[in-house]
Symmetry: C2
Subunit: 499 residues, 2 copies
Amino acid sequence: MTELRARLAEIADLDDVASLLAWDQQTMMPAGGAQARAEQRATLGRITHERLACDDLARLLAELEPYEQGLEAGCDEASLLRVTRRDHERARRVPSDLHTAMALAAASAIPVWVEARARSDFALLRPHLERQLELRRRYVDCFEDFSEPYDVLLADFEDGLDTAAARSALEALRRGLEPLLGELRERAGAVADDCLRGHFPIDGQRRLSKRVLGQLGFDAGSWRLDQTVHPFAANPAEGDVRITTRYDERDLASALFSAIHEFGHGLYDAHIPHAYRRSPLGRIGASMSLHESQSRLWENFVGRSPEFWQWATPVLRDALGPAAPRADAETLYRAVNKVSPSLIRVEADEVTYNLHVILRFELEQELLAGTLAVAELPEAWNARMRSDLGVDVPDDARGVLQDVHWASGAFGYFPTYALGNLVAAQLWKRLHAQLPDIGAQIADGDFAPLRAWLGENLHRHGRRQTLRETLARLTGSSALDPEPYLRYLRTKLGDVYGL
Amino acid sequence: MTELRARLAEIADLDDVASLLAWDQQTMMPAGGAQARAEQRATLGRITHERLACDDLARLLAELEPYEQGLEAGCDEASLLRVTRRDHERARRVPSDLHTAMALAAASAIPVWVEARARSDFALLRPHLERQLELRRRYVDCFEDFSEPYDVLLADFEDGLDTAAARSALEALRRGLEPLLGELRERAGAVADDCLRGHFPIDGQRRLSKRVLGQLGFDAGSWRLDQTVHPFAANPAEGDVRITTRYDERDLASALFSAIHEFGHGLYDAHIPHAYRRSPLGRIGASMSLHESQSRLWENFVGRSPEFWQWATPVLRDALGPAAPRADAETLYRAVNKVSPSLIRVEADEVTYNLHVILRFELEQELLAGTLAVAELPEAWNARMRSDLGVDVPDDARGVLQDVHWASGAFGYFPTYALGNLVAAQLWKRLHAQLPDIGAQIADGDFAPLRAWLGENLHRHGRRQTLRETLARLTGSSALDPEPYLRYLRTKLGDVYGL
């Protein structure tokens, strides 16, 4: 076990260093470093993959089998061995050449995506997407024992969930959302968000984000907040949580909600127990749905609640000074909950966000299966945007080119965004039962009980349990259940829209 | 050769990533990340050392011997094989355990040094220095074929120079400096630097540094300038040069000269040819004297020249606005050349700087030999400061605790600072002969010819030649000659002080 732990600590260090390289690239790196940085990331990825797949680790795991059988199920050592075996076996199936080819394909496709999106020129990106799909099919071919090829890709972002289960949950979600969206369309004029539009200087917005984050639990001794084109969270080491947001002078809500969203990710990272650090038990990204549940819980269940705006409205006035809107807490609360189908996923409201995700989830399955050709993707995208959201896509930049995921090869990632919403609601239901005063606490700006509950019930478990095991422990069932989420949306939007 | 190049590219990538980790730690990292970052750096160092020392590399180098013998001496492939063999053989002598112990000793001693310096408490640091010396003695014991133990440490920072040669050059330097310093002492009142003291807002100083750097050759597409406690330069990838400076509102010169100094390092890095990147031929830190010659050439030979101040004085007035001193170019030029023995090396004038370095060089040889005990170090330090510089040390914070080098284990580094001065003067003499209009060009703010000369004659050679080979190529002799440097100082200070 000592040798195993030492090897796993090195692998965890390399993963954390890779996370720093990615953070730096998006926040600090001069543009001139892009090519060399891609090579560094490929090198680091190759070394990490080799160490995870190596014969020495295979031998160690084989030697430890008798010891493992004597361990109590679910204890830390048993969990460590289980997740190590899983990561090792998955890595071992993938030849180093293919692993490197995937890293290099992403590095070369991402700048092309940037240009293609800027020029709204899908043809530029098309050969790169075709190459990515070819590589992903070769990747799938490395595996056995799956029901459908997409299972293999999904497993990289969600340990222990197959496509059928994700599909079933997301289809139930869509069935539940459609009538709600119909009702909201009829009441479209009932909510205005004018108070969020205007001119809000970035200094004031930054002050607002920092004050809100400070109250939520952002501590300058171990956190940073920076500005990037695409907000994200990174955790390049224990005690070092970095989140970013982006500012739009014409929009009061965008930077704040991005900051709160990334805070949710960051808090999960910040709460990984020291004992799980430098080990795969700290790699909580193994369930992106759980990770996303945390960002969306803070962004939506907290940040878009009426109680939050009772607390935040005076904070906002103070931070923005004369630039603050004159709206009261109730008006702001209603404005941030306005539902309105639109083109861009990351700017979507809480309801239609899920439809954006389901559309991608379904299209990427067709792409992988080959039933949809890359050349036909823009047309398919636009048709789905019309049928699912009722929106006409004016150009590919605001359509199929808006997200980086496919260019970077991350097929299988999208469903975790919407699953995160379901999981957030399942957790919220449970925590609400155990913290009946949570609303009043939020209205007082007291987020400590919520932080403590999440830390105790989810965060401190690291990667000890899968998503399903976590749901079973906290809700009594391992099922992904869309009902709590649908009920939450219906209750809140019923209140906001007077349904 | 293809396999060798692939392996060396990985090692170079790991070195560059290590440089990013160090940069990030000093500029961006929240304090909470310090412990985990130390582990990451140790892990990366261990992996790099293993790859450099590994049997596969030994086998490859052995297989390539016949091929190497057929190569033209000094061609790129021959140079690549020579430096690879050197790095490999040095790494192979050092057991991985000792390498890790040295990395961890540095990681644990540096925070203690920070505290010891803050509290001016040498006793805190003493056991760490003793441990460092013990490890360095074990390190020396890994080697054979040296004249004195210090040779082994020096070789890590200066390939191909032994202690005797460094000692001989630095003793000649001291002999030359002593009479000059005596004359300057008698004329101490002849130069005033009041114009550099006052209140100079940091925004204006930052604007000044950026304008000057922009003219020297800093380009925002591939450079960054940040603020740190200790200025430094880093080059974490091709196309990515990062320098730092520090601002003191009461001092007009400090930030500007630090920025110019680090620019000199950065330009050397920026000019490493693409073909030498991702290979040990790009590791120009193998001669720290050459590297330091570049920073000191820009800082002193350019930045403290009368011609520079002809160009820079209006720039300074414009950048600082009403906060600018009313001094003219001549007054500023004289002020930045004031000589006055003081306590702190990094704040020392051009003359006494060398005495600070020689003092450290001699004390660290005694420490390594054991003729000076760590416990007696502060007393020895203070005695030398009195005898060499005529300065009384009021406390260890401003004495033996001022530099991080020994706490970090970098014994053998100091002499390269003063040797860099000698080398800068030897290069400057040569370039002045080839660029007779350099003074007029500097006065015009035209630094392109100087950049081009350095690029062509030094930078583009990367690590193809050692310090001595470089000197032989450019000056006709491989000797470290203090005469050009002494003549440069005597001429300039004769002018400034009216000697």
